[in-house]
Symmetry: C2
Subunit: 296 residues, 2 copies
């Protein structure tokens, strides 16, 4: 795993530069908005979605410059979703990645608009840079990416999450919520990374998507386990928050030990899904393991 850690650190370092380059400069009007966009995106985050895009790009021998751009786009969407999620009318959180949340550091209106502008920027990047061998593939990327963000994807998942607070829900209902809320963007990350390279056969895309589904769910299951087991300092965000908010989680519905077993099963499934890609999927496998074994 040492080699993986070097690779992961390399991706994270590269992303920091790419994100900074693609964000509007802080000295250009409207400065406060641009400062908020940069604050919420730079200096922090595990960069899991970019890593997924890079790892998927290795399978299709994608050009790194292309993968960097799509990774940044995905990360901008992720950052926007966190800004809006932390707002008083949503989760009302004050701490994120060990720092004050965007609306605490700036103000609510600026945070709202920073999220809005980051969403637009993400799609602008995928429609502007040369990311695929032909424009039709790039439109295809945008189709999947935009869909993953809307009411049948991330935004829809957040709405279901809100509606679930304090409710008794079933495991399939919890899963449906997560497949939209975090799963859609994780699947888009894998898909966009892969589409930057050579065309895959339909069955290969299905394998990759199965991998992404498993990893997306595993990510959430592990998040719930960490929220229950870890502490605020380690997480860089408020621990025990879900329990306090009376939110249904994998741990509350399954129990801690079965939740851990479920995460292991998802990891095995993810391995299995990319078995046919052989060595080219080594980063995808390592990344799945990293996601399940992480401590924050």
């Amino acid at each position: 795993m040492n080699d993986f850690q070097d690779w992961a650190r390399g991706v994270a370092r590269d992303m920091e530069h790419t994100l900074s380059d693609l964000l509007p400069p802080p000295d250009v009007e409207p400065q406060r908005l641009h400062a908020a966009m940069r604050y919420a995106t730079l200096s922090g985050g595990k960069r899991v979605r970019p890593m997924l895009a890079f790892a998927a790009g290795l399978v299709t021998e994608a050009h790194p410059a292309r993968v960097k751009a799509v990774s940044a786009a995905v990360e901008f969407i992720h950052a926007y979703s966190l800004i809006h999620d932390d707002l008083p009318c949503m989760d009302d959180d004050t701490l994120r990645r060990g720092r004050p949340t965007c609306h605490i550091e700036f103000d609510e209106a600026t945070a709202l608009l920073a999220g809005d502008a980051l969403q637009a920027l993400a799609f602008e990047i995928v429609s502007t840079h040369n990311l695929a061998d032909n424009p039709a593939t790039q439109l295809h990327m945008l189709h999947h990416f935009t869909k993953a963000c809307g009411s049948h994807g991330m935004a829809g998942g957040q709405a279901i999450d809100l509606a679930n607070v304090g409710k008794v829900i079933t495991l399939p209902e919890l899963e449906f919520m997560h497949i939209l809320k975090t799963g859609a963007l994780i699947r888009a990350s894998v898909q966009l990374g892969a589409l930057c390279g050579r065309a895959l056969r339909a069955d290969e895309m299905v394998h990759l998507d199965r991998y992404a589904k498993c990893v997306g769910l595993a990510f959430q299951v592990v998040d719930d386990i960490l929220d229950c087991e870890s502490n605020t300092e380690k997480l860089g965000k408020t621990a025990g928050k879900d329990q306090d908010a009376n939110k249904p989680t994998y741990v509350s519905l399954m129990g801690l030990v079965p939740a851990k077993r479920f995460a292991d099963e998802l990891l095995a499934d993810a391995y299995d899904a990319v078995a046919s890609f052989g060595d080219s999927a080594i980063r995808l496998r390592q990344l799945a393991e990293f996601i399940v074994r992480r401590e924050n």
Copy 2:
């Protein structure tokens, strides 16, 4: 103008169907989110941006099905911007198009997410439907459209608008704000409508864009005049709001009579910009006049 009114009513009626068809059905999960998206978009609005797209599409003989789709996309962006603009942390408004604003009818979190999902939906539509003769043109559309919505466009304009409250600003500063806040999306409407049809020469695109710039500014100048002269009932939104909020307007900076003269000058400029298009620009001309002469 009778003929124009028929045409305008036809576009508005068509749009109502198109918007409804392209919005997620109200009975699909998450229902509350979808209901909020539909509430904020359907049954109301002047549909000025769709009319601009249709009028521009006539210049390039664009296929109506294509123009309908881009018009809906633009209108979804407009609707999302109004939802977020009305939120308590922004303008804190309770009345819009004669009805309770989205966060009053639903709740703040749902309104926030409905806006977010509408933005994603707008870009999804332009990346999904067949809107141009080649995918490269369609990517070009998306490039302009996404840029018009971000921090160098609409979202940036809203941030500047917020920063201006209670401040003494100059006329050029006011103009810069409006060029971003409302102008960018109006220009995108004209551009997208035109790009649905035959390719225009560069100089023709410049003419169309000059028209759009004039109309966009005129729209705002007239808004300020109406906010000062009209009443809440006629406007369907809170009148005198800008003055109460101590917001700089064309009327407060120029005075009422010079503001009216400025609107007339912009109308004349708009006419001039599309003179070379002859008869094909008749709707563009009528629409500019309608925007300047409207009473709400």
